[in-house]
């Protein structure tokens, strides 16, 4: 074997090893969550769907899932409504202070999450909104907003603005031009932004743990408080469900992007 070949083999082997470290733990949880025992053990002694049944039987998990879905949907909707116009302004507009505006919009995602959570807790407790799912959705929307803006802005840069001018010259109103020409063409970017916004909200635990109490407990918040007590097979089962869910959304995202690319050509 030549030295170059040897180096190449070593590189792939090393990469495979590191990949193994990143992914193996995620995969190991699948069999472990199928245990029929009361505790998580490896090797697994007996397999069953017992803990998945437990998740469905115990109303609290489903209730938390529902809260997470609602909060995720609310924050995604909000992030899109605010983010799409903002992306248009930042991609096409030219105005003083544009960089400062971008920096302010990006601030929620680079600020340590605990500071965001504590500040929100302090703020909402003053106005009596702590424990309300709306308060969680508001903060999640602020965190997701920069991501939506950047994905939408990216798809805007490939958009030919002459199309809008043409439609305007043909007498189409601005709103019509937006909904019938612009939106369909940047749809993949918007969808990607929406999915990422939803995942951000759906996975977020710190803000949720400061803001949610009682009936408005999100799924990650449930896991978080449970895990500090003990890691049960039920938690492993929830983890598997969440991971599968994220993987599906990610696959959807990849599909959308490849479609967008094809159309772009």
């Amino acid at each position: 074997m030549s030295a170059a070949r040897l180096r190449s083999v070593a590189m792939y082997a090393l990469a495979a090893l590191i990949l193994c470290y990143m992914l193996a733990p995620l995969l190991l949880v699948f069999p472990m969550s199928l245990t029929s025992g009361n505790t998580l053990q490896f090797p697994v002694r007996g397999y069953s769907l017992r803990w998945y049944e437990e998740l469905i039987a115990d109303g609290r998990w489903l209730a938390a899932l529902k809260v997470s879905m609602i909060v995720g949907a609310l924050s995604t909707l909000l992030a899109l409504t605010l983010g799409i116009p903002a992306a248009i302004a930042l991609a096409w507009g030219r105005f003083p202070g544009k960089r400062i505006v971008s920096a302010i919009l990006a601030a929620p995602i680079v600020t340590p999450i605990v500071i965001v959570g504590v500040a929100a807790y302090f703020f909402f407790s003053r106005i009596g909104l702590v424990g309300d799912r709306v308060s969680i959705a508001l903060i999640h929307a602020a965190i997701a907003l920069p991501v939506v803006v950047s994905t939408v802005a990216a798809s805007l840069t490939t958009f030919d603005r002459n199309l809008l001018r043409a439609s305007a010259s043909l007498g189409a109103g601005t709103l019509r031009g937006f909904f019938e020409i612009l939106l369909p063409l940047i749809a993949p970017g918007v969808a990607a932004g929406a999915i990422i916004a939803f995942i951000i909200s759906f996975d977020e635990v710190v803000v949720a743990s400061f803001l949610s109490v009682g009936a408005d407990r999100t799924l990650p918040r449930m896991i978080f408080s449970g895990v500090r007590e003990s890691v049960s097979p039920a938690v492993a089962a929830v983890s598997v469900v969440l991971m599968t869910f994220s993987a599906l959304l990610l696959a959807l995202l990849g599909w959308l992007q490849s479609r967008g690319r094809r159309r772009g050509r």
Partner: protein, 404 residues
């Protein structure tokens, strides 16, 4: 709503700016203003400065002699202050603030406030208060109150650096056994540095493999590396607890291969914290390294090698400088995220592995010491801001040093 989308020209581009307003107002309202208000608590002295304003004023007007209890005016002011605070439900906060500065005064304040609000003290107040609560005869309490007047305070900001003001009002070191926060800051930075360095090292072979592999494989590899980024941080952290626990797969493998006789303690250690944090943050580093590596033509390395340079020398002198910007950008991202870590240290670290964020949460949740929580937050944000500025300055310097 979208008047300018179809409009062209300078005016149109100005008008387009209006579209960013809703988002800007929203972020200002739910993020910037709340964070700013929270951070302002670091210097806020409402509890003592406002809550005990009459007492402070009385002590200012007639300072008691060294080691002496003040006179009737101060006691009358105290009773008035505490009665008002009690009615406004602020007495507990005054008690907590005073107890932070002088341990052992909490119940004294709360009970005195209760009695004052019930109207149990009549003039002359000094003997009445001293009879009911003799601890007010300690001159140290009065000195502490007098020293902590005013609307603003540097108490929390100093405390977050293990500093305090001594009796003369000069800044002094906290006693060595109580130096918590510098150690905490050092530990937070150190953990972040180790994690960043490890991510940089591990990202190199991964990114090289992704760039060198045939396109189909490259995409698969990239997706595999990025997958963890999109599964929840909490789930990935929890999974490390499951994998590293005593009855977990790693210990099972260690015992089965005879590497150890008995299961080892892997979880709730600095080691497990590093493992989990690196796994969580590595994709970010790979992302930014791959993006620069793709722009480096493989022919550069080939040329260097064909000229007879040893591989490492060729890599160091040809490849590394070209991918350095990506490594730096990736390191900056990883470091910024690592500094703010909370969930992962809490769940997989030991009690000695907690980072600043945990402490911010502790003071918020457990003791409602908003001032110290805010001061620690200011510290973290200042650190991040300093880093960003240094980064910008270095970049500007690098640009200038490139010969035109």
């Amino acid at each position: 709503m979208t008047p300018a989308v179809g409009v062209s020209g300078r005016r149109g581009e100005r008008l387009l700016a209006l579209l960013v307003l809703p988002a800007l107002v929203f972020v200002l309202a739910v993020f910037v203003v709340p964070v700013a208000r929270f951070l302002s608590l670091a210097v806020d002295n409402a509890e003592l400065g406002l809550g005990l304003s009459r007492t402070v004023a009385a002590l200012d007007a007639e300072p008691p002699a060294e080691g002496e209890v003040p006179g009737e005016a101060a006691f009358a002011a105290l009773v008035a202050d505490l009665a008002a605070a009690r009615t406004a439900q602020q007495d507990a906060l005054i008690a907590q603030a005073l107890n932070q500065r002088m341990v052992g005064t909490r119940f004294l304040v709360i009970k005195t406030a209760r009695d004052a609000a019930r109207g149990e003290f009549a003039a002359p107040f000094k003997p009445a208060v001293l009879a009911a609560h003799p601890d007010w005869a300690d001159p140290e309490i009065w000195r502490t109150i007098a020293a902590n007047g005013g609307r603003l305070t540097d108490y929390h900001l100093l405390a977050a650096l293990d500093l305090r003001r001594d009796a003369a009002g000069d800044i002094a070191q906290a006693p060595p056994e109580a130096t918590l926060f510098r150690q905490l800051l050092g530990r937070t930075v150190w953990i972040s540095v180790v994690v960043t360095a490890a991510c940089a090292l591990l990202a190199l072979p991964l990114a090289s493999a992704i760039t060198a592999a045939p396109p189909g494989w490259s995409r698969v590899l990239f997706a595999l590396v990025l997958f963890p980024l999109w599964s929840s941080l909490l789930v990935r952290t929890v999974i490390w607890i499951i994998v590293l626990q005593r009855n977990g797969p790693v210990n099972a493998a260690l015992v089965a291969t005879g590497l150890t006789d008995a299961p080892m303690t892997l979880i709730y250690t600095r080691f497990s914290l590093y493992l989990a944090m690196i796994q969580v943050l590595l994709p970010l580093m790979v992302l930014s390294v791959v993006s620069v590596m793709r722009r480096v033509p493989p022919s550069y390395m080939k040329a260097a090698l064909s000229l007879g340079a040893p591989w490492f020398t060729a890599w160091r002198t040809v490849q590394l400088p070209l991918i350095l910007p990506g490594l730096m950008a990736g390191s900056a991202i990883v470091f910024v995220f690592a500094i703010g870590y909370y969930v992962t240290p809490l769940l997989v670290g030991g009690p000695g592995d907690q980072m600043i964020s945990s402490m911010i949460a502790f003071y918020t949740n457990r003791t409602l010491n908003w001032g110290l929580a805010a001061a620690l937050s200011v510290q973290v944000l200042a650190l991040l801001a300093a880093m960003t500025l240094t980064g910008l300055a270095l970049r500007a310097l690098a640009r200038r040093s490139v010969p035109a």
